[in-house]
């Protein structure tokens, strides 16, 4: 049977692009902010666009840009990016059942465009029994386009358009994550891991301000708590 299931169909690529449109619109303000920060730190339009196109990791880029200096802080940028993005090392394996069936450019392109939001949508698709990894690539490729374009737009608008901190435009990023979180809820098995993850991440965000360890450690401790609970209860 598995041989006949599509691995990476054009239909799934297009469906991924279409169904991810709401998150694309919500990613744009984040890209604008990134472009504005790059412009404020003295990066040229070409540099800002290149950074978004090659790095394609919003929270890492914003963190590095907020600690920018001249000449560019190469080592610090590499370290900060690595730590902020360590969560992605957890995300890839979750999509193993899809990615294991891909080879060559399809595998690498799918991994390259994997970001939090389209990964989450793909996990939901996979959990509902879909087998076509084209969804991950289609949603991610369109998000990459939106990300690079909105960074460039932010750089061009630069100093002329700077919404004040606390403007509701910035809330859209959180709204995306909250809405995705709702779709992640399965059943009461999730209570313990979610409570542990919430407590650990809030505590670590306070203890280690300015870093992003809380994301990784919150997810790991919550997931470990869930597995520990399951084992104590025995097989369900």
């Amino acid at each position: 049977m598995s041989r006949t299931r599509p691995r990476f169909s054009r239909a799934a690529v297009l469906e991924g692009a279409r169904r991810s449109l709401p998150i694309q619109v919500a990613v744009a303000p984040f890209g604008l902010v990134c472009g504005v920060s790059a412009q404020a730190q003295g990066l040229s339009l070409a540099e800002a666009t290149l950074m978004s196109g090659l790095v394609y990791a919003g929270s890492a880029q914003l963190l590095v840009l907020s600690h920018w200096s001249s000449p560019a802080p190469v080592l610090a940028a590499a370290l900060a990016t690595f730590v902020v993005n360590l969560r992605m090392a957890l995300m890839g394996p979750v999509l193993g059942p899809w990615l294991d069936r891909l080879r060559g450019w399809r595998l690498w392109a799918s991994l390259f465009v994997m970001a939090d939001q389209n990964w989450a949508m793909s996990v939901t698709q996979m959990q509902s029994g879909r087998w076509d990894a084209g969804f991950l690539f289609g949603s991610g490729a369109l998000m990459w386009v939106f990300w690079v374009a909105s960074t460039a737009a932010g750089h061009l608008l630069g100093a002329t358009m700077r919404p004040p901190p606390g403007h509701p435009l910035f809330f859209t990023a959180l709204a995306v994550f909250v809405a995705i979180l709702v779709s992640m809820w399965r059943d009461k098995r999730d209570v313990v891991p979610w409570v542990v993850a919430a407590s650990a991440s809030v505590l670590l965000a306070r203890l280690l301000p300015g870093t992003s360890w809380y994301i990784l450690l919150g997810a790991l401790s919550g997931s470990a708590a869930g597995v520990w609970r399951d084992r104590r209860r025995g097989p369900a």
Binding site: A72, A120, A175, A197, G226
Partner: protein, 100 residues
């Protein structure tokens, strides 16, 4: 349209670091099949990862974030529609902002 060599170097190492995490975790998992307990954790990663983004943001946030988040949850639960949930939550946050 300038390209500074130090900036280019920073972009290159950032790109390499990101690709290492994007592909590295998956490739390590594929190369060394980890013990069952680690595999079992993967099932909980999606939810707990997003909890770990949202909880600290709300803990540090004010009325705007809380009202916006509650509205997002309400619309998402009621409609299961991502676009409506984002729109509804942001609209609620905008109302608080305008009122404050």
């Amino acid at each position: 349209m300038t390209l500074d060599p130090w900036v280019l170097a920073a972009i290159a190492v950032m790109a390499a670091a990101t690709l290492t995490t994007r592909a590295g975790g998956y490739l390590l998992f594929r190369a060394f099949s980890p013990p069952p307990a680690v595999r079992a954790m993967l099932g909980y990663i999606p939810g707990t990862l997003f909890v770990s983004y949202v909880a600290p943001a709300l803990a540090a946030g004010g009325l705007q974030q809380w009202v916006g988040a509650l509205a997002t949850v309400a619309v998402m639960v009621a409609t299961r529609n991502l676009a409506l949930a984002i729109l509804g939550g942001t609209a609620a946050a905008a109302v608080v902002w305008a009122a404050g």
